[in-house]
C-alpha cells in the first residue's frame, strides 16, 4: 500500500456514538466513505488531498468507530453519516462513497440531499442487479472477496503482497462481521432505493471499473436511470476496487465532478 500523507485523526460524537475521522489535505472539504472491507487510506487519498481537504469517515462499526449494536441496515449508518454532516457544519459538501460506502452515500442523498454539493458513487452497491448477484464474501472468505474486487489476482499480490499483513486480515475479518450485521439479507441491496433516488437532484458521478466483478454494471445503469442528474464514467481495465488500481484516475474524476458543480 502507498504511504498516506500526513493524516490527522479525531473522534466526533454523533448521537452518543464516537465516529472516527481521518483528515488530510486542505481546501474544499470532501467526505469519503469506505468499502465494506473497512477503512483503508492509500494513493487515491494522497492524490485528492493535494487539492482538497479529505474527511475520511470510519463508518459506525468499522475501523475505529464504535459499533452501533442496534444498527440493522446500511440506512441506519446513513442516518449517522447524515447527522455527522450536520455536526461538522460544513454546509453543502462533496460526498464520495466506495462500494458499500457508495450505497450508504446514496442513502444519505435520499434523506438529506440539501447537505450535499456533489455525490460520487464508485462501484456502489445498494441496488439489486437485474441479472446475477452482487459478489458475496460470506461463504468463501474475505481474501477471495478482495481478489474478486481487483481485475486479477496478480494485482492483489502487487497491492497487498502475497501474504497480506495481520493488520489487514484483522481489518477485513472485523469489517465483514459488521457488514453481516447490516446486510446479511438482502445481500447488498435495498428494494426501495431506486425509487427514492428519483427525488435526488444532487449532481452525481457514477464511477465503475470496466472489470468490476463485485457489483454488476447493471447496478450502475440503474443508478443512472433513476438519478435525474447523474452521469457514468467507466475506468477501463480496473476492477471493483477502482481507487486501488487506478487511484489517480479516480481522484481526477472526483476533482472533475466537483469542478463541474461549481
Amino acid at each position: 500500500m502507498t504511504a498516506v500523507l500526513h493524516a490527522a485523526s479525531r473522534d466526533v460524537e454523533v448521537s452518543g456514538l464516537n465516529v472516527h475521522l481521518n483528515e488530510l489535505g486542505a481546501g474544499e472539504p470532501v467526505i469519503v466513505l469506505h468499502h465494506s472491507t473497512g477503512p483503508l487510506l492509500g494513493a487515491f487519498h494522497d492524490r485528492l488531498a493535494l487539492s482538497h481537504r479529505l474527511i475520511c469517515v470510519d463508518l459506525p462499526g468499522y475501523g475505529q468507530s464504535v459499533r452501533p449494536v442496534r444498527a440493522r441496515s446500511p440506512r441506519d449508518l446513513a442516518i449517522y453519516v447524515s447527522q455527522l454532516l450536520s455536526a461538522l457544519e460544513l454546509g453543502p459538501t462533496h460526498l464520495v462513497g466506495f462500494g458499500f460506502g457508495g450505497w450508504v452515500a446514496a442513502e444519505v442523498a435520499t434523506m438529506n440531499q440539501d447537505s450535499l454539493a456533489t455525490l460520487t458513487l464508485v462501484g456502489a452497491a445498494g441496488i439489486k442487479p437485474r441479472a446475477g448477484f452482487i459478489h458475496d464474501p460470506m461463504l468463501n472468505g474475505y481474501i477471495e472477496y478482495m481478489k474478486a474486487g481487483l481485475s486479477s489476482d496478480e494485482v492483489f499480490d502487487e497491492i497487498f503482497g502475497v501474504e497480506p499483513s495481520k493488520d489487514l486480515l484483522d481489518l477485513w475479518d472485523y469489517s465483514r462481521e459488521m457488514t453481516a450485521r447490516l446486510t446479511w439479507k438482502q445481500w447488498m441491496w435495498n428494494l426501495i432505493l431506486p425509487d427514492l433516488l428519483r427525488g435526488v437532484r444532487t449532481p452525481t458521478t457514477l464511477v465503475w471499473g470496466s472489470e468490476d466483478r463485485v457489483v454488476p454494471r447493471d447496478c450502475a445503469e440503474q443508478y443512472l436511470a433513476n438519478l435525474p442528474n447523474a452521469r457514468l464514467e467507466i475506468v477501463e481495465g480496473a476492477g471493483h476496487l477502482v481507487e486501488l488500481e487506478q487511484p489517480h484516475a479516480v481522484a481526477a474524476l472526483v476533482v472533475d465532478a466537483i469542478t463541474r458543480a461549481l
Binding site: M138, G141, I143, E144, E177, T179, A180, W184, K185
Partner: protein, 443 residues
Amino acid sequence: MFIGYFTERPYQDRTADWYKASGVGLLDLTLSNGVIDADVQADLYHRYFDEKLYIEEMGFDGVMLNSHHSTPFCMGGGPMNLEAAVLARITKKLKIILLGNVLPIWDDPMYLVEELAMIDVLSRGRLVSGWVRGTGRESVAHNAQPPYNWERFLEAHDFIKKAWTQDGPFRFEGEHYQYRYVNPWVRPYTKPHPRIWLAGIMSRATIDFAVENRYPYVMLDSKLELTAQVFEYYREKAREHGYQSGPQNLGYMFKICIEETEEKAYETGRKLIEGAGNLFLDGSQGQANPWAQNLPGLNTRKASGYLPTAQYVHNIESRGLNLKGEAIDFTAQAAETPAEHEFRRKQIFDGLLERHAVIVGTPESALKQVRHVLETLRPGNVIFWHGDGDFTHEDTMRGLKLMGERFLPAVREIGRELGLQGAWEADPNGIPLEPADELAAGV
C-alpha cells in the same frame, strides 16, 4: 444412569462416486443434492426407524436425534422434528431427546412451540427438547444472520417457554420475534413444560445459561480430559448459583462399537469415522468448510468465551487470520496410494482409540474402557454413538443385540456402583448448597 443411543443417520450410497469410504477428502458444503437417489433415501429413513424400534427392544432408555443441514452425514436436518413425531407414535418407552433444534435459524419459532408440544403429547411426556446454536452450516442453510445467533437463541428460548407455560392469548414483542396473538392449540403433555437440555463443545455462555436455568448439559464427542475440565466448570458455576449439581445434570456422548471379537470390533468400529461420517470430527475423511463453519459474528471474538474443548486456535485460523491468502487445497490431503491410505486410516483410528474417543471391543473388554470414561467424567447420562458413518444395517443390528444382551446391564451396574444417577433418577435442579458450602462458594 440414563443410557441413550445416537446416530447421525448418514446418507449412504456406496455406488456413488462421491461416497469415498476408501478415502478422498470431501469438502463440506460442496456436494450437490443432485446425487440423492429417492429409493436410497427412502430405504435409509425406513432403516433408521426400524433400528430405533430395536434400540427400544434392546433396553436403551432413549434415542437422541440431531439436526445438521445440507449435508450427507445427517439425514435429520430440517426433518428432525418429523422423525421425532414418528418415533413418538411408534415407540412406547424411549425418551426422545432432540439435541437439538437450532433455535436461531427459525424465523418463526411458533412452529417449534406447536410441533414440540405435539411430540410431547403423542409420546405422553417422553420428549426432551434440546436447544443448540448450530454450526455455520445451519445458519447457511436457513440464511440466518450469524451475528445475532446468540441473541436469537435466547429470545426464541424465552418465547417458546412462555408459550408453553403461560395461558394464552398473549402478545409477544421481542427484538427478533414478534407475535400479536400467542394461543397455540396444542399444549405440552409435560407440566410445566418438556424437559430442556443443552449441548455443545464451544461456548462458555451456553454452559452459563444451562446452569442458570438448571438445564442438563451434554458434551458431544469431545476429548476426555478437556470434557472433564468443562464438567468441572459446570459444577463451579452451579455452586456460584447456589446449588450442587450432580451426575444427573451432565451428559456425555461418545462412539462405541461392540462385537463378538476384538478383531471384528476394530474393523467395524473403523466404519464410525468413514463413509458419510460427520465432517467436523477428528478422523473423518471429509473436511469441514472453514469459512462456512465460522461465519462472521457467529462466535465470540474473545478467547475467554470458549470452552477448553473448542480448539480456539482452529477457530481463529478458520476465520482466516493465519491464512496466507492462499486457498486451502483440501483434496491434497488424500492419500496417493492405497497403502498410504491404509496406513493413515490405521494411524488416525488408533489415535482415537488411544484417547477413548472411540471405544471398541467385546462386551467385556469395552466395559473396562467405559468404566474409565465414567470414572473420569461422572456423567449420569451417557449416549452411545453407534450405527454411523459406513455402518450397514447388519452392523448396527448385530451391535445393538450384543449391547442389549451383554453390555447395557453391566454399564448400569457400574453406574449404580459409582452413584451416577441419570436425569430421571435425581432432581435436575440439583441439591441446594448447605450454608457452609454457600459461604465457600461466595453465594
